[in-house]
Symmetry: C2
Subunit: 404 residues, 2 copies
């Protein structure tokens, strides 16, 4: 029994958060420093980018959560602290600042940065911002969500309650997108809190399994970031018997975790840089899970299809083309494709060949803000869903002068 | 000794060509039907798209060149004849029309189509266009090049003369781009003619080796087309002793072939849909050829880097990011990156970390129409070059309503 609730990362018992503008970003109206602290040490699981170029904060975070526990998250936006000779030193000092102001062991801090790659990150604004950041700690999930935004147009947070071991538990999250988004065994930045009692091993197992079907299935531009970090912290304050095996409570937690990550996937794709539409590709009839995922990802990644969706053009040939080069094993002559939206259902391809359809109706279907592309490979029982967005003038505009 | 000459596909001895508007495309000012005929049967080699969705013409062409010989090429634009139930039948009838009007055996015809996928291709305009197309056959390489254009803004043709067996030989080509361009063991449409005498086996060997370093290293949008076809026809009329082994003449031909394909790669990338700039990534110091190619392709494919190039923004972090997710084995801490153009040389990254540079000078360097990105991995002796283009508003505009 899963119920959406308010509060974001502060919904679970034992978590406080805050976000402030400390001066890393020039625009004073944009917060750029976030902090999440727990009242107790939390079982903690993380996944990171698979990019060989890794942000310095990831190297420090990996050390700090190696024991399976953490108690705080500090994250800045406006600078990725990546490809900087002194990056690790700066990231470690950020953890030290958290200890100084909260008493939490620097070795229990998750540190993350997001923004421009390859520009030195000065500690000065962070030092200057710490007093206000820490004094303001409280039920401020939204402020923290705002402080990790880069090109995001909306703050992203969500929370659910669920039951484990007869106890009501809560799980909440904040995250940011929305460019350089093509997670690979990891994702952009997302911080998830829960008060469920669960062992670090089971928490990592749940997270690693979940990202394969959630965040690894989102793509805005096929650019896998250097700083992707997804962190889940479990305080255990819900009072349920600690989850130490794959039992019914574990499955209840996994469902709650997937509800959080899937909701965030849709938020990220919908807010993709310059996006006007959420594109969801639902593949069925695949001969394997791998093939289903290859096809779904390939379709939502096609720049040609993304541009066609922006133009509300039912150019289904581009869907077939993307299916064909996806690398998945399939029989092209069995492929069916249907475009769906709130405006109706439009079958466009049957057995790999085109169907007649009304261009006017097609325009209406594709002019909606959420487009579903159903692909039935008619070759098995495996399914996968991927989330993306359309390719627009604004994506080019945003990224033509992001840095300067 | 390689000399660029005029004449395109008609430069080599024994070839005539023409292109006309027959009515497949609504715009009467755009030619849409091309024909190349040889006076003699030609040793012929082809490579095709690896997309599982293959245009019907490819299936027919594969049969017709299975014996290693062909004598004519017919190609239409405006419709890809792909994902049509009757596609093979239509493609076969196009070959039959060539026999009817030229006497060339239908089984010696290379047939190709390019344009929208999944719309029925009517034979009527082709039948109507054949008389004028064939009566006009002559030294009209440019007309043929124009007739295979889709979103291309310029016709693409080139020719060189070279020496083999003491005889002057010629090689010429026409091709089209410029969207759905990410060749994989094949390319968009390119037709190459030569009068060198060479066996079909050696011709195929030369072609298959060449595309790995030429056309497979071009990408406009990472969308591998369904109709990619590259065909080389050798009339043998230059009078050189037939090349039947990998001797000096073979190497001379390979150099000439690579001069043609590389020149076309640059034309295709420079004319990429909406492109304002040619982006050339030259990778050196790789530990293997595979790694060099992975890195070069990854850099020119990054939408974020492509958009930054459009904005003349020296956002080299995006180069590092693309190198990092390329899949190549390398040491990030050894990577050097330099931006170069006619306006100067701008080192931006040394040993994986950023260098100080003048933003004004960077803008000048990146405002040129041809940008070279030098990447030295400092980890070996292998090199590769890839060609791409910037990502602009016009790419979105062109593809937002290409079909309708």
């Amino acid at each position: 029994m899963l119920t959406q609730i308010a509060g974001g990362v502060c919904a679970p018992k034992g978590f406080r958060a805050n976000g402030v503008h400390c001066g890393i970003r020039k625009n004073k109206t944009k917060k750029d420093l976030a902090l999440i602290v727990a009242d107790v040490k939390c079982a903690t699981a993380c996944v990171y980018t698979t990019n060989l170029v890794k942000g310095a904060p990831i190297l420090v975070t990996k050390q700090n959560v190696a024991d399976g526990y953490a108690q705080a998250v500090i994250c800045n936006s406006g600078n990725a602290n990546t490809c900087n000779a002194d990056g690790v030193e700066i990231a470690e000092k950020m953890c030290e600042l958290v200890r100084e102001y909260t008493g939490i062991n620097a070795g229990d801090v998750v540190v993350a940065s997001t923004g421009v790659i390859g520009q030195k990150l000065s500690l000065d604004p962070i030092i200057a911002g710490m007093p206000a950041l820490c004094e303001g700690l409280g039920d401020h999930s939204t402020a923290a969500a705002e402080a990790i935004m880069t090109t995001d147009t909306v703050a992203k947070e969500i929370a659910f309650s669920f039951t484990a071991g007869g106890k009501e538990c809560r799980i909440g999250a904040i995250c940011k997108g929305v460019g350089m988004i093509c997670p690979n065994m990891a994702t952009m930045l997302m911080f998830v809190t829960t008060d469920v009692a669960i062992s670090p091993a089971m928490l990592q197992k749940a997270l690693s399994a979940d990202v394969k079907k959630s965040l690894n299935m989102v793509s805005v531009d096929r650019d896998t970031s250097t700083n992707d970090t997804l962190c889940v912290m479990a305080s255990g304050l819900a009072g349920n018997a600690e989850i130490t095996e794959a039992n019914a409570d574990y499955r209840a937690f996994c469902r709650a975790l997937n509800a959080v990550t899937t909701a965030m996937c849709r938020k990220i794709a919908r807010d993709g840089e310059g996006a006007t539409k959420l594109i969801e590709c639902r593949v069925s009839g695949a001969s394997s899970l791998k093939n289903a995922r290859l096809v779904a990802k390939s379709v939502i990644n096609s720049p040609l299809l993304k541009a066609a969706m922006f133009g509300s053009d039912a150019n289904w040939g581009r869907v077939l083309c993307a299916i064909g080069y996806s690398g998945a094993k399939l029989d092209v002559e069995k492929v069916d494709v249907v475009f769906r939206s709130a405006a109706g259902t439009l079958p466009v391809c049957k057995d790999g060949s085109g169907l007649e359809f009304s261009e006017d109706f097609a325009k209406r279907v594709l002019s909606e803000e959420e487009i579903v592309i159903d692909v039935d490979l008619n070759g098995g029982n495996f399914r996968a869903t991927a989330w993306g967005c359309d390719l627009t003038y604004d994506y080019v505009k945003i990224n033509g002068d992001y840095r300067t």
